[in-house]
Symmetry: C2
Subunit: 213 residues, 2 copies
DNA sequence: AAATGTTTGTTAATCCATTCACATAGTAGC
DNA sequence: GCTACTATGTGAATGGATTAACAAACATTT
């Protein structure tokens, strides 16, 4: 419910999805209560961090008892707004884009890629996993006003054209796999997934680890 | 060259690939020298952070001049060991795995996925983008001793079986797309790419941003 | 209902990273 | 060579996040 008194740190925000997934799994297993110490073993986050994170959303637990799994599922579900569907468009139906559409976050029924765009005539007019692929030049014509979120899987070189077009139709949240940094509107929230960098920095760490990581 | 005197922070390690890519691009454009202030504009990292990061690898720059682009390309290339090929195996040739193989980090000639594994009989024995797909049960038989790195793109439920098998054949660096956390050997460096969590935390930030991000 | 045990929520301490700001060391022009 | 700039590299200040540790709050047992 996001008690106004406590600020939620960026680091905490990145962990909310992990908490949500874990408590959902516990609920499915029929577990009714969980201690921070036990949850720590499951998700490998220190129990003190868990308690601090949880407390920034209100007093979710009870001393000497722990947390009710049902309450946690409820609270984190509310935080992530899983009750209302998030409709998403995807740009760039290459290998990666197609894989994302096929998967379509099926474990999370609230996350739906509902339409896709490309510029390749061979792809325009087709469907991938039931999702229609439109011509990117028809973006404004095809997009429905409920869509505020986009995933970008086009080559880096195409990204500088794609982002302003998306902002022009009201998109304000973007997840992109093209690492080329762009300037975007102050109202746009953008996140880069840079697979090459992740691999390179992983390798650097692995090659240079004298001590454990 | 990783002067022993200065410790390289984790945050810095994550930025090395960004620096490497940027200076490579500058080199290709024929740029000979670069100031931290100018580089900051390109990659959107504060100039003070850039200077501190660079200085942890030695005195790469010159006062009143800046940095030589050639020197930087050289130094970061050495840090990332781009001179010797890194051969990689991939497990799980579904949508995501196949996309990774097709792409095969082609912008980085040192990074090569050289073989793939699956358990689906329909995939075993085929090739994807020239990369052979073997039966995962033949892992030990097929793997070559030069391979120390793996990418995992199997369903989360299969991951607990896959990781010990990889460790058993000497893999010590793992990049995985299955978010299910696992216990692994202390000598294994593992990194999770959790696409669903990235999207969910992005949406949380976008929905709750009263101030800019 | 008292005693015992458990686990939270939070204060304080610590750690890690970023940012400021400038002495220093070099460049560039003359 | 001398002067006027310029930009690095780094101490010091700041800020953010993690971790330790414990009083207070509740559960459980007897
Ligand atoms: N797949 C990987 O392993 C991998 C690894 C690292 C980075 N990436 C990045 O992910 C992104 C996508 O990768 P991919 O392998 O799917 O690439 P891909 O080349 O297979 O697909 C790109 C798709 O984007 C389409 N496209 C190009 N310009 C467009 C435009 N202006 N508007 C709409 N569509 C356009 C193309 O027609 C193509 O279908 C790239 O930026 C790539 O750098 C991918
Ligand atoms: N694609 C996405 O958009 C997306 C989104 C979020 C998370 N993920 C995660 O990425 C991973 C891969 O996703 P995907 O869409 O490619 O899945 P997918 O189901 O298309 O492919 C999984 C592949 O793994 C193979 N496999 C299963 N068990 C195996 C085993 N024990 N050994 C070897 N191979 C095995 C299957 O035969 C299949 O080919 C999953 O963990 C998924 O949760 C994917």
């Amino acid at each position: 419910m996001l008690n106004a008194r406590a600020r939620v740190s960026k680091a905490t925000v990145r962990r909310i999805p992990l908490y949500y997934r874990a408590v959902q799994q516990l609920q499915q297993q029929g577990v009714k209560r969980i201690r921070s110490e036990r949850l720590s073993e499951i998700i490998h986050i220190p129990s003190a961090t868990i308690r601090r994170d949880f407390s920034s959303f209100g007093e979710l637990g009870k001393s000497g008892y722990g947390y009710s799994v049902d309450t946690l599922v409820d609270e984190f579900g509310k935080l992530l707004e899983v009750q209302d569907a998030e409709n998403i468009l995807l740009v760039g139906c290459g290998g990666l884009g197609a894989a994302l559409i096929e998967n379509n976050f099926r474990r999370n029924p609230d996350l739906n890629i509902t339409m896709a765009f490309d510029i390749d005539p061979a792809k325009i007019g087709t469907e991938i996993g039931g999702v229609p692929v439109y011509d990117f030049r028809e973006l404004a014509m095809r997009v429905t006003p409920d869509i505020k979120t986009a995933i970008i899987a086009v080559p880096s070189s195409a990204q500088p054209q794609v982002i302003p077009a998306l902002e022009g139709i009201g998109i304000d949240a973007i997840l992109t796999f093209a690492p080329q940094p762009v300037v975007c509107l102050p109202t746009t929230t953008i996140r880069y997934i840079d697979l090459t960098s992740e691999l390179q920095s992983l390798l650097f760490t692995a090659h240079h680890q004298q001590l454990a990581d």
